[in-house]
Subunit: 345 residues, 2 copies
Amino acid sequence: MDLPTQTFALVQKHDGYSGKAEGPHIESLELYLDAAAIPLQALSDGQVLIKMAMASINPSDLHYIKGEYGHPRVKGAAAGFEGVGEVIAGNGDYAQSLVGKRVAFTVDPAGSGSWAEYAITSATVCIPVREDMRNEDAAAHVVNPLTAMAMFDIVRKAETSSFIMTAANSQLCKLLTALGRDHDIAPIAIVRKDEQIAHLKELGARHVLNSSAPDFADTLKAIIKQEKPRVMLDAVGNQISADVFAAMPNRARWVVYGKLDPTPPQFKEMGQFVFMEKHIEGFWLTRWFMSTPLEEQIRVIGEVQARFVTGQWETEVTATIRLSDAMSDLANALRSPDGKVMLVP
Amino acid sequence: MDLPTQTFALVQKHDGYSGKAEGPHIESLELYLDAAAIPLQALSDGQVLIKMAMASINPSDLHYIKGEYGHPRVKGAAAGFEGVGEVIAGNGDYAQSLVGKRVAFTVDPAGSGSWAEYAITSATVCIPVREDMRNEDAAAHVVNPLTAMAMFDIVRKAETSSFIMTAANSQLCKLLTALGRDHDIAPIAIVRKDEQIAHLKELGARHVLNSSAPDFADTLKAIIKQEKPRVMLDAVGNQISADVFAAMPNRARWVVYGKLDPTPPQFKEMGQFVFMEKHIEGFWLTRWFMSTPLEEQIRVIGEVQARFVTGQWETEVTATIRLSDAMSDLANALRSPDGKVMLVP
């Protein structure tokens, strides 16, 4: 079979960092990407070429194409960190052993992005996918589910009977909510719209609060008094997050994993670090991969697939958009806060 | 010998917390204390009565009498957390075994404060003092030296070759500076006045920066690039602290142990928690006592006494004030930033 030497893709228009911190909101895709055919590099040792079936879109992708992520953009390279597809070529024994398999994967900086017809990544980050797993779940196998599993592990080790999530209407928080439900650690979800409350309760949240409600501060205070949550998993990093943290009890941990709101928060209660043993830390999945033994990663991946196949988890999709329609349709599709947007070739 | 049934003391005028966070600056002592004779309670089991030789004044005392500390004020009770004196009575075998000994001590909430002729505390927190140790060093044996030892332990475990201190002209930071010098971990001191620079360099600081100098940000950046400090020991908790933390490298730890500046800092770089593995925590000596095995406490106390007696450490005293002069003279004496103020009966 002749291998493709180029791919249609959503291609980055900028190099490096923007120096801004606007958050992942996208006004127009044209500011950051072009739809174009780009050449595919020859596979290095250990790399695989993947014919894409479906790519997911995560907040980290949007932070990245805007130049606000942990590593710099590369002009002319395809965007997209995650997806599922069939391995059609490999360089090296292990890479070749994957040919013909459906794999979920993330793209490392040496590869070529998933928002494309063809992607390139390391064989070692490819996860063979069970036949009974939907493409919708497989395309979003890595970033959200492993982040959910790893952060829920922080919650479990904190010996708390409840935990708080901000921006809780995200797919990630829906996974976390189900984990809380299944392990009897009460999820306390903070959202920004009343219409998001019912579904999160259905998924297992014990409390769902609307941070724009006039009685938010009082309700939060009462719930914190009742549930004593010691962990906040926070994707927002704004003043509301800081105020929630200040209302939490002794030994509370603020785990930052995103910065949806670019406004810098003010810390009014520095003394709580001293007298209440509180602390602030971050979570980044990249570091989890670097610091977690492979065996443990494989165990967690198996659990992720089982949760999707048995219906304990479900990736909720609000739109599936063809690559060729992305420039016109994607930014608008991303405005719906209720589920993920998928890209297909 | 007849035991005293009352003591002259500096007595608190208020109960509980003030609800403010002004910091330890004292405009007038009258706002918080009276000089008066108060009755001495009968000794409970395990308590000792101490005839004071000298009491120290720490920022934590000032936070406390202002109602801004980790536990509430008690109206009518003597102030003062720390001092040295002779045990003249004890209730219980161990307490009685200390009678006649010179001890350094802190006062627990069940006792009676050290800014007095007589103080009461638990025998278990009394530290018999070597004969060759000066009262000036013994009166300040516990709070600063043990905080210095415990926080320097955090620095050592962080595997860093340098560390940053704010409000570095304090007695505590002078102790930390000497520890850095003796263990070859470079102290980087931040002060607010040029005239404080020379003495800190003399004590062993590798760099001393004046945060009010116009080139502070640039100098700091250059020094951080050169020394890569991973720990900041911070008594201030203001915007300068937050900006220093933001300039620090990967895996930097901000250890808050005081809040000298009541202004709340803004966090402009929340993404650093995620991508740079930074975190914020606090240090409180009370917790160190609760979480450190007694054997280790005794080892550290022995090292503290040895450091003072051999001259590796010295408590620098700027004023020694009689209790009966405190109401008129103390607030003014505390304005000198260059050393400690001691109280004597």
